[in-house]
């Protein structure tokens, strides 16, 4: 029966690339990420009929579960998603296996290797494998070495290695980790995850820029006066204080997700749509990016930490009062920074990046503000004519808005701003896949386009090195300003950019 909810003619029409027969091995299978993102994404791929029949998912962690225990635990954790699709889950769960492995024990990995050979036979997976390191970053290096030692990474065509974020803590540790990982596997086998790149809307920036003729000619310093990239969360640290205390907003969001958004916004057009061509351009633009004033990094950044807030019915704790957080913590939960991209296209155009927790809205967006017209011929109905803006909404309400001036109705010749709007929901009416669905499929398809290459990761860390050094060596120069929960960060952040005669967009 046709329903007006989904487009019946769309059903079954998407032709996705087919994942080849293989085993996906997840280390950290008893952890948070596995049941919150990975298994749901795999189940979704299964429902979309994209999982081949010759397939296996082997969960690994230290605890001594059996295949059945693993299946049961996942079933319980995913109960919401499974509801109504119990039959499909039963079939899907036949793909799930479990093998107890401590990545630090080489004999465990050798045992795993034997188990994988057995599974190859029963599942007909031809020794083709994807290894997913969803364990604490402390184990990335030793995990790679153990896999290498067991010979599991030997065939570059048949084994792939997916590594979660964070990749390193700073430039030198990232470099060191790259070296180790690259000594265990070829770069073409390594897939460093940045789940923002899995988002449809981030990929859409590339399509918008390079599939249309009208944007590229004005996508430069001649027409654009500034760029703002915002990623805000309403939640606080939740139950991840242990991790967050040692990370903070710079490492958790700015260096990876925000910087990747900067890269796709600012990169040059690649010669062709091929993984290396695209990653070359991203690496180049990151290498050309610098803090606005590298000699005075304290003038290019504002850090903040949320204090108490909310309203009477819903009081919110400050960061330092959260469970597991040091009561004198100096971890930033908000960071804003100003960056220049030193190349022909962007010379002199400031890029302002900000991200934080406990802000009033959950949102990701990129705002390109265009230069003013040279002469204002028309009076504006509001005080000043507003500059043209192109707003790319990453989440939620994915889409784009273009703001421009039109004649205000009436006998005069006054101008006023209006908005031209594109919304994914209104145009397509179908939710886009969660980033992990796309990325897991791409890794299993050996398509590295949406994964960060070693030079990109290193360039992204290098960009923030002056700030990290300052935070480590003379933190008083980069004070942590308090901001009330559910406000747009510390007032200092507003002053920080109003010096440049620019204001944060209030979404």
């Amino acid at each position: 029966m046709p329903s007006t909810l989904s487009n019946p003619l769309r059903l079954g029409l998407r032709q996705e690339r087919v994942i080849s027969p293989q085993c996906l091995v997840i280390f950290g299978a008893s952890g948070d990420l596995t049941h919150r993102k990975l298994i749901p994404a795999l189940f979704e791929l299964y429902l979309q009929r994209r999982i081949p029949s010759e397939f296996g998912i082997v969960g690994c962690a230290r605890r001594p579960w059996t295949d059945n225990e693993f299946r049961e635990k996942m079933k319980v954790k995913l109960s919401n998603q499974i509801s109504g699709k119990e039959r499909e889950w039963e079939q899907f769960s036949n793909y799930l296996f479990y093998e107890p492995v401590d990545l630090q024990q080489s004999d465990h990995v050798v045992r795993l290797s034997r188990r994988l050979n057995e599974i190859d036979k029963t599942q007909a997976t031809h020794g083709n494998r994807t290894f997913y390191l969803s364990v604490s970053p402390n184990f990335y290096a030793s995990g790679c070495k153990a896999l290498k030692a067991a010979g599991l990474l030997d065939d570059p065509k048949k084994s792939r290695l997916v590594i979660e974020k964070p990749f390193g803590r700073d430039y030198s540790s990232a470099k060191k980790l790259n070296k180790i990982v690259q000594s265990c596997a070829e770069e073409s086998q390594i897939y460093r995850i940045d789940h923002y790149l899995g988002k449809e809307t981030v990929q859409n920036i590339l399509v918008l820029r390079f599939a249309n003729t009208i944007f590229e000619p004005i996508w430069n310093r001649n027409y654009i006066s500034s760029v703002q990239i915002t990623s805000s969360e309403t939640v606080g640290v939740e139950d991840r204080a242990g991790y967050y205390e040692s990370s903070g907003a710079l490492r958790d969001m700015l260096q990876n997700h925000m910087t990747q958004m900067l890269a796709v916004t600012a990169m040059e057009p690649p010669g062709r749509f091929e993984p290396e061509a695209i990653r070359n351009e991203k690496a180049k633009v990151l290498q050309a990016s610098k803090l606005a004033n590298e000699n005075e990094p304290w003038n290019c950044c504002i850090r903040g930490q949320y204090g108490e807030g909310g309203n009477i019915s819903n009081r919110l704790k400050g960061y330092r009062q959260e469970d597991g957080v040091n009561c004198n913590s100096t971890t930033e939960t908000y960071i804003a920074t100003k960056i220049f991209v030193d190349n022909w296209r962007w010379q002199g155009v400031p890029f302002y990046l900000r991200t934080g927790k406990r802000l009033p809205k959950r949102l990701g967006e990129i705002v390109l503000t265009f230069k003013d017209v040279p002469v204002h011929l028309f009076e504006s109905t509001i005080i000043n004519p507003v500059s043209n803006q192109l707003i790319l909404r990453i989440q939620p309400n994915e889409g784009a808005t273009f703001k421009f001036e039109v004649k205000s109705p009436g006998s005069g010749m006054k101008s006023r701003p209006v908005e031209m709007e594109f919304s994914y929901d209104e145009s397509f009416g179908e939710p886009s896949d969660e980033g992990y669905v796309r990325l897991l499929a791409d890794a299993m398809l050996s398509d590295p386009t949406l994964f960060t290459r070693s030079d990109e990761v290193e360039a992204a860390w290098k960009l923030y090195t002056p700030l990290i050094e300052l935070m480590d060596n003379s933190p008083w120069k980069l004070p942590i300003y308090n901001y009330e929960s559910m406000t747009w960060g510390p007032p200092e952040s507003d002053q920080f950019i109003s010096k440049d005669n620019i204001f944060w967009r209030r979404p």
Partner: protein, 433 residues
């Protein structure tokens, strides 16, 4: 695109020795390189038209198996010169019979099976086997082999090689000896495809041999009579065989464009009030149109009621679950320069009536050219809200379409296609009862 490199010029060997030779070849090669871990592709490559034209001296040899623009041009001219209708198919028996008159029976150089379009060779087939029947009725079987390595322009990795085998001879010798060789050449652990690059009307015993073989089949129902094509589809479907039909593949733009129109949720209600569907096709071969209408009715949950032929026009009625009737028609048009594939859809019109007031109703028009859209607009359509879109028919070659299938499909019949076949059969049988 990556060019294909043949390591050796194809070597002619007695057919009994082929499989032995290939086994040795791969053992003596570098032991790390036991050949690409991909698939076997067999191609039934009669190229009757080309063979005739070369024999007649109307085009220059060698015979390649590719339907080149020159061949198409010369064949179309021949059709006109002989006074045949302009809609005559390039595979029609009538045409071939005329061409076969007074053939020289000379042997021409025949390169069939030795070159593949790069879209196919990039996929690194492990083994390419071409069956090349000759029009010459008494030519005994000849077999050729060669190893090839696609050149990769990206990585300096060791190329992964495959081999190709050509089996040439008259139909009888292919049936008697050629199929035995194929038996010996199968590689068990790899998927095997058969591309039947000819009309389904001919050599049914060879076709049947393959369907019993459990291959993934690629056929083209625009070649061959609708009766025979639908019968084949029906049998294969009942046997649960994997079928891919290029005639269905070529509908992709139409399915996608129509779906795209209804992506905005605000337009979905239009679908619930469709009253009429008209499909224009080029030439009198209705299978592709049947697929399109069957797909739409399947997705919108209509059931087939009746069908009748009204001179050229085929009229079909469907019923919505609430009892409302939808009238559909398939209308063959003769075009000045028809596509080489008979019966390609060139226009689609949907009318959706939500109210008595004409301007609240909607007319959706898809046409392969704007002229076709304008044609479908005639007769009061402009009073309704019009949604129009041009859907250019795809000009990709069959080789390219096949490579897409090889590269993307799991080999099973697409569920959308499977359902469409069932409905298309109901309609077609209704017509013949």
């Amino acid at each position: 695109m990556k060019p294909q490199l043949t390591l050796q010029t194809p070597l002619e060997l007695p057919y009994q020795e082929i499989s032995n030779y290939l086994n040795k070849l791969w053992i003596s090669e570098d032991k790390d390189n036991s050949g690409a871990n991909t698939f076997t592709l067999m191609v039934w490559q009669p190229a009757w038209l080309e063979q005739c034209l070369v024999q007649k001296g109307l085009v220059n040899g060698p015979i390649t198996g590719n339907l080149s623009p020159e061949i198409i041009k010369v064949a179309k001219k021949f059709i006109l010169d002989q006074g045949l209708p302009i809609t005559t198919s390039l595979n029609s028996e009538e045409l071939l019979n005329l061409l076969k008159e007074n053939l020289s029976n000379e042997d021409f150089e025949d390169f069939r099976g030795q070159f593949f379009e790069s879209s196919i060779s990039t996929l690194n087939p492990r083994r390419l086997i071409t069956l090349a029947p000759t029009i010459n009725k008494n030519s005994d079987i000849k077999t050729f082999v060669s190893a090839y390595c696609p050149l990769s322009d990206t990585q300096a990795m060791q190329p992964i090689c495959g081999d190709l085998v050509v089996i040439r001879g008259d139909s009888a010798s292919i049936s008697n000896k050629g199929l035995k060789i194929i038996d010996e050449l199968s590689i068990d652990e790899l998927p095997a495809w058969l591309w039947w690059n000819g009309s389904l009307d001919e050599s049914p015993e060879i076709f049947e041999y393959f369907t019993n073989y459990g291959l993934r089949l690629i056929i083209d129902t625009a070649l061959g009579s609708p009766q025979r094509c639908l019968k084949v589809l029906d049998q294969l479907n009942n046997l649960n065989k994997a079928i891919n039909d290029l005639n269905w593949v070529r509908l992709k733009n139409w399915r996608e464009s129509l779906a795209m129109i209804f992506d905005p949720p605000s337009r979905r209600p239009i679908l619930d009030h469709i009253t009429d569907i008209d499909i224009d096709i080029a030439g009198d071969h209705m299978i592709q149109a049947l697929f399109l209408i069957s797909w739409i009715s399947d997705k919108l949950g209509w059931s087939f009621l009746r069908v009748e032929r009204d001179t050229e026009l085929t009229k079909i009625e469907f019923e919505r679950i609430n009892g409302e009737i939808i009238s559909a028609s398939i209308n063959p048009l003769s075009l000045g320069n028809p596509s080489i594939h008979l019966g390609q859809v060139i226009g689609l019109r949907l009318i959706s009536k939500i109210s008595e007031v004409q301007k609240n109703n909607t007319c959706v028009i898809l046409g392969c050219e704007s002229v076709e859209c304008m044609r479908l607009e005639a007769g009061g359509m402009a009073d309704m809200e019009l949604i129009e879109q041009v859907v250019p028919n795809s000009f990709s070659t069959s080789e390219y379409d096949v490579s897409k299938l090889l590269g993307s499909s799991r080999g099973n019949t697409s569920p959308l296609f499977e359902n469409s076949i069932k409905i298309a059969l109901q309609i077609f049988n209704g017509l013949n009862n």
